[in-house]
């Protein structure tokens, strides 16, 4: 299995699945670093000046502008697409840009007549640059100097490309006290030994690099930073790794929040990243509020005494389920890796702290690999038993799928020498980013097409209100009973039930302009909602005293639903 370093370098560079900015072939879809992406966003907006514009919502600690691209008229009910909060997740940025490009090119039909779509294609540009650096590494932290290992020094021990292949992968060391074994089905992967089955670990797992500060730990405090996708306040990990010193410390997360405050018309967000709720929609789960130590009763979660919400509120569940079903129908994606945890990430924050309809998808993952006929017979089954429980199933499948495309994404374990180290280290394992980003070519192109369809569909589901069924009844001499339905002709409810509770986003304001009439019942100004989608409505009634022939005026508006008016002639 030993490969000379030169060969390893040759292998890995030749087979890197399109993760690099290639100088040729500008027409084909490919991954872009910050400079190329920013230029593309700016040029796209310039080509569609009437319908698009770009604003900077934050500047990263590394000095990179976080852009937001508006597609469609300002101040309409809007969808926001957020990508690349997780640095190595480059596919999200490309999906965002492709969707913007195609919708601006007319691919959304009449969508832009009623909806606006905002795109933040790269929320964590400092981290994403790791995928374009040499050596290439899966960087998640931004450019803020931090003390990740809490040794009161910052950025003192980063990765080193010991095997010289231009990529940072894993490193293992033979260790009689180690917890790891080689994956029998895929030697490039390691799995935990299971002592209850009599297994004894043989390896310790590290990341590729030296112990630069001689503290016995390897690469524990590299360049950067705060992981923007761990820095949002919902379920924030205080004192957690790469979480920042406090929630919203990163200018990127803070900039996004201020952007949402300034754009209350954003009714829904679509987040491309490791957190998913479209393959498996979020559900309301039994109350897990804080237990009173005396009464042993749990207070209701989502209240002062009960503490944070641990799952969505029940009233919002049917919408999450419905959108998940539509996503699967539109994209054909029904199975895939489980969602990453919800802790300080932008997806869960968008719903739990900002009340938005929030949907998340990885965008891409390796399709199911063809059955392994070459190893049939002697080989173990790829699933079942210990193999399924070891957590490597997704990686094994991805590696096989890439091989079926003629691409090797595993760096073979290669001995490296580290000066001053007596132990023998081996560098190898799966390359960074290959589980997240499809290779350039047909797989990337089909991903962009599939995701654009869903972005367009989701933007078409935004709430839209209308008045219906006005009834004016003469109750008696100069007394009128007015009844009207306020309907939501969009698909998404006018607000999440949770947003309604926290007034973010706010509900619909109804104002009855009495024009001199006297109000006898009902409210001249009131706030109502949420109203479910698909033409569901709520009935409003008033009684007024006014002369026959008078005309009142009724208006309803909220940023997420638009504004409508209704003239009410009394006759």
């Amino acid at each position: 299995m030993r490969v000379v370093p030169a060969l390893a370098r040759c292998l890995s560079w030749a087979t890197l699945p399109g993760l690099l900015v290639v100088l040729s072939a500008p027409a084909a879809a490919q991954y872009r670093d910050h400079r190329a992406l920013s230029t593309a966003v700016t040029e796209l907006a310039a080509r569609h000046r009437a319908q698009a514009s770009v604003v900077t919502i934050a500047t990263s600690p590394g000095g990179r502008a976080v852009q937001a691209l508006r597609v469609g008229a300002a101040d309409r009910p809007a969808l926001l697409v957020i990508a690349n909060a997780h640095g190595p997740h480059l596919i999200g940025s490309e999906v965002a840009l492709a969707a913007a490009d195609r919708i601006l090119g007319g691919g959304g039909g009449d969508l832009l007549d009623r909806a606006t779509i905002w795109f933040v294609p790269r929320l964590n540009p400092d981290a994403a640059e790791g995928m374009f650096a040499r050596p290439l590494w899966a960087r998640t932290g931004n450019g803020m100097a931090t003390d990740e290992d809490r040794d009161w020094q910052t950025d003192e021990d980063g990765f080193d490309d010991l095997n010289g292949d231009g990529v940072i992968t894993a490193m293992r060391v033979a260790d009689p006290n180690g917890a790891w074994l080689e994956d029998p089905d895929e030697p490039g992967l390691m799995r935990r030994a299971d002592p209850t089955k009599g297994e004894v670990g043989q390896w310790s797992i590290l990341t590729e690099g030296r112990d630069d500060d001689d503290d016995g730990q390897f690469n524990e405090d590299g360049p950067g930073g705060v992981d923007v996708n761990r820095n949002f306040p919902y379920n924030y990990a205080h004192h957690g790794r790469e979480a920042g010193r406090f929630p919203m410390e990163s200018p990127e997360a803070r900039g996004l929040a201020e952007f949402l405050i300034a754009h209350p018309e954003i009714a829904a967000v679509y987040v491309l990243g490791p957190q998913d709720n479209l393959l498996k929609p979020w559900e309301n789960r039994p109350n897990a509020g804080i237990m009173n130590p005396t009464t042993r009763e749990r207070a209701t979660e989502g209240t002062s005494a009960g503490g944070p919400l641990n799952s969505i509120v029940r009233a919002d569940q049917s919408t999450f389920t419905d959108v998940s079903r539509r996503f699967q129908a539109t994209t054909g994606l029904t199975k895939g890796p489980a969602s990453a945890g919800l802790a300080g990430d932008v997806l869960s924050w968008s719903y739990f702290d900002f009340g938005r309809w929030a949907f998340g998808s990885r965008g891409w993952w390796a399709p199911e690999a063809p059955r392994d006929t070459a190893r049939a017979g002697g080989a173990r089954p790829a699933t079942g038993g210990a193999a399924a429980a070891d957590g490597n199933a997704d990686e094994r499948n991805a590696i096989k799928w890439y091989r079926a495309q003629g691409t090797e994404v595993v760096v073979p374990w290669t001995a490296v020498t580290i000066p001053g180290e007596r132990r023998s280290f081996e560098v190898g394992g799966i390359k960074p980013g290959v589980l997240l980003n499809p290779p350039a070519g047909a797989e990337l192109d089909s991903t962009l097409a599939r995701q654009t369809r869903f972005v367009t569909e989701l933007a078409g589901m935004l709430p839209r209100i209308a008045f219906r069924d006005l009834e004016v009844t003469a109750v008696g001499d100069g007394v009128w009973r007015i009844s009207v339905d306020l309907a939501n002709e969009g698909t998404l409810p006018t607000n999440t039930s949770l947003g309604s509770r926290m007034r973010n986003p706010r509900n619909i304001r109804l104002a009855l302009d009495l024009r001199g009439a006297t109000l006898l019942s009902g409210e001249a100004i009131q706030v109502t909602g949420p109203i479910a989608g698909g033409g569901r409505s709520t009935t409003m009634t008033w009684t007024v005293a006014a002369a026959r022939g008078a005309t009142l005026s009724l208006s309803a508006e909220s940023p997420t639903t638009g504004a409508v008016t209704q003239s009410i002639p009394l006759r």
Partner: protein, 581 residues
């Protein structure tokens, strides 16, 4: 000039620089300073009024000018409306480096209406400056401690409270405009001084079926009609009208959040914690304090003054949080002494004894920074008649009696008729904003002093390192063993357990110079001479914590004969140095 300072009627109105200027030139009359008071104060201040933003800056400048080696004025940031968040740093600047001494952080007025924390914290700055050089304890305190005093971390709200018509409870929020009622309009239905008397008081309306009657004992006070009898009045809320025509009164006053629910420790959104605002540190004032404190690892203690109720509060604010038992013992000891210093005050835990708070300031100080932090709720009705009785036999509230007997009715606006656009004929009257939550003038200095005394006691008990002994023993072969015993001579540990468990501030460093260090050790058992070697960087032994009133011993094997110098350096406990003989 003295006439102004004794007029309580003018206490709230005469804010600003005028009374300050007037007193500047006066030298104190009288011959003998009372015990515990400055003998010859250079800056003359009166502690029976509330100072506006301009006056806070002016006081800071005067203190700095009069005491340049003790007091310095700076700004830690700007408020939403662009006011400086003034900070007065107090220490003996001629000795040591201010930012390396163990520091006490003090602020006040986070809630706009809770104004006297500003005066109380400025009193501490003034008192320390004026007492330095005449009191050995104060001199010692300022030699090795620093106080960062931010009199108001909410100067916008303070200015509104002082200069606009308000109640004792308005505004609590800062001045960032917010839509409180979710109707898309911002601050559109505020409290309104209907009768133009400069006060927001209460409205009452006659109603033959009302719930209230005029108290037979106290004609200014309404009491509930006795069971089985009809009342004559309804209380219909604070002075105001329906400004926006939505049928509701005063539902969207200025601001619309609680600055003390905006801190980045266990922050929760609006549906869990009312007033949280959009996200932790969304407010510029919160952000300024967080950034300042994050840059000062030497802050070991903190106090944030609120009102009211007579409490010495510690966290946690939420039942989900927990203070470490080792730390609770320290909090308890300080808190119990605080109850002695502050008669009428009770030492309490926020969530258990008061109410649940998510994202509160004191929890951020402790949770994120491991700082021993209290919040004193200033002013308690106990002070009125120095009794815990909330009501006497004769009155439902002793406030009226106190106002009558001690303030000569200065705190109350008599009921006057007013024709309300929505409610019809009403009467407007009630207590003024400067009564009920703040000390009356004649008690302010006493209470400021007691609260300062508690805070100075805490400041004193912050960690202080001492190198008790250095032992030198010849090992032969040109080697010498140097042993040093280093103690923390005060109550508070160099690292709270919260700090230790989360690795917030660096370990204590005990270093040796004067020879070539071959190896270094922590002595784990001084009786039996057991030691643990520190392999890396042996000249600088790392000690994770030195608890209060305890010591550690370290030793080195050194080539050389000395003399040796041992330096002990704690982030929150200062630096101590000693030379061997």
């Amino acid at each position: 000039m003295r006439m102004h300072t004794t007029s309580l009627t003018l206490a709230a109105a005469l804010i600003g620089a005028t009374p300050l200027m007037a007193q500047q030139s006066a030298t104190p009359l009288g011959n003998l300073a009372a015990a515990g008071s400055p003998r010859a104060p250079k800056v003359h201040l009166t502690w029976d009024r509330f100072y506006d933003h301009a006056a806070i800056g002016e006081i800071g400048r005067r203190l700095q000018a009069a005491h340049p080696n003790t007091c310095r004025l700076s700004s830690i940031g700007k408020s939403h409306e662009g006011r400086d968040l003034w900070m007065i740093t107090v220490t003996d600047f001629t000795k040591g480096e201010a930012d390396r001494k163990p520091a006490m952080y003090i602020d006040g007025n986070i809630h706009s209406n809770e104004v006297q924390g500003t005066e109380f914290s400025m009193y501490a700055a003034w008192y320390l400056c004026e007492m330095q050089g005449q009191n050995a304890w104060i001199d010692s305190l300022l030699t090795d401690r620093t106080l960062y005093i931010v009199p108001s971390i909410n100067p916008d709200g303070r200015e509104h409270y002082l200069k606009q018509a308000n109640t004792a409870s308005s505004p609590r929020t800062g001045m960032v405009p917010r839509d409180n009622d979710g109707d898309g309009l911002v601050d559109e239905d505020q409290l309104t001084d209907l009768n133009g008397d400069g006060h927001i008081t209460q409205m009452r309306r006659r109603n033959p079926n009302g719930r209230y009657i005029v108290s037979p004992e106290e004609p200014r006070m309404l009491v509930q009609a006795p069971p089985g009898t009809k009342g004559e009045w309804d209380l219909v809320g604070s002075e105001g009208i329906d400004n926006d025509g939505d049928g509701r009164v005063n539902e969207d006053h200025v601001g619309g959040y609680d600055p003390n629910r905006n801190w980045p420790w266990r922050w929760q959104p609006q549906y869990v914690q009312g007033g949280a605002d959009f996200y932790p540190t969304s407010l510029p004032e919160t952000q300024a304090v967080v950034n300042f404190v994050n840059q000062r690892d030497n802050i070991a203690g903190a106090q944030s003054y609120h009102n009211s109720g007579g409490m010495i509060l510690r966290g946690p604010g939420s039942p989900q949080d927990e203070y470490r038992p080792q730390d609770v013992r320290v909090f308890d000891e300080l808190g119990r002494t605080g109850e002695r210093i502050l008669p009428g005050y009770r030492y309490m835990v926020v969530w258990k004894d008061l109410y649940i708070v998510w994202g509160g300031e004191l929890d951020w100080f402790y949770g994120a920074r491991g700082i021993v932090t209290y919040s004193n709720e200033l002013w308690t009705p106990y002070k009125m008649f120095e009794t815990s009785e909330r009501s006497s036999n004769r009155y439902d509230s002793p406030q009226y009696e106190f106002d009558r007997l001690l303030l000569f009715r200065d705190a109350f606006v008599p009921w006057e008729p007013f024709n309300h656009p929505q409610y019809g004929p009403v009467e407007i009257g009630g207590f003024k904003k400067n009564f009920g939550r703040t000390e009356p003038g004649f008690l302010m200095q006493a209470e400021a002093h007691r609260n300062m005394a508690f805070t100075l006691y805490q400041t004193w008990e912050m960690p202080k390192l001492s190198i008790d002994s250095i032992g030198v023993r010849t090992l032969g072969n040109g080697l010498t063993e140097v042993t040093a015993e280093v103690s923390n001579i005060r109550l508070i540990p160099t690292h709270t357990q919260q700090d230790l468990e989360n690795r917030i501030t660096r370990p204590n460093y005990i270093s040796l110079t004067g020879g070539t260090v071959i190896s270094g050790y922590r002595v784990t058992n001084t009786l039996n001479g057991q030691s643990a070697e520190q392999e890396r960087n042996p000249a600088r032994i790392e000690i994770r914590n030195i608890p209060g009133r305890s010591s550690v011993t370290v030793k080195w094997v050194v080539r050389g004969n000395g003399p040796f110098t041992v330096t002990a350096d704690a982030a929150k406990g200062g630096v101590a140095t000693r030379r061997s003989r």
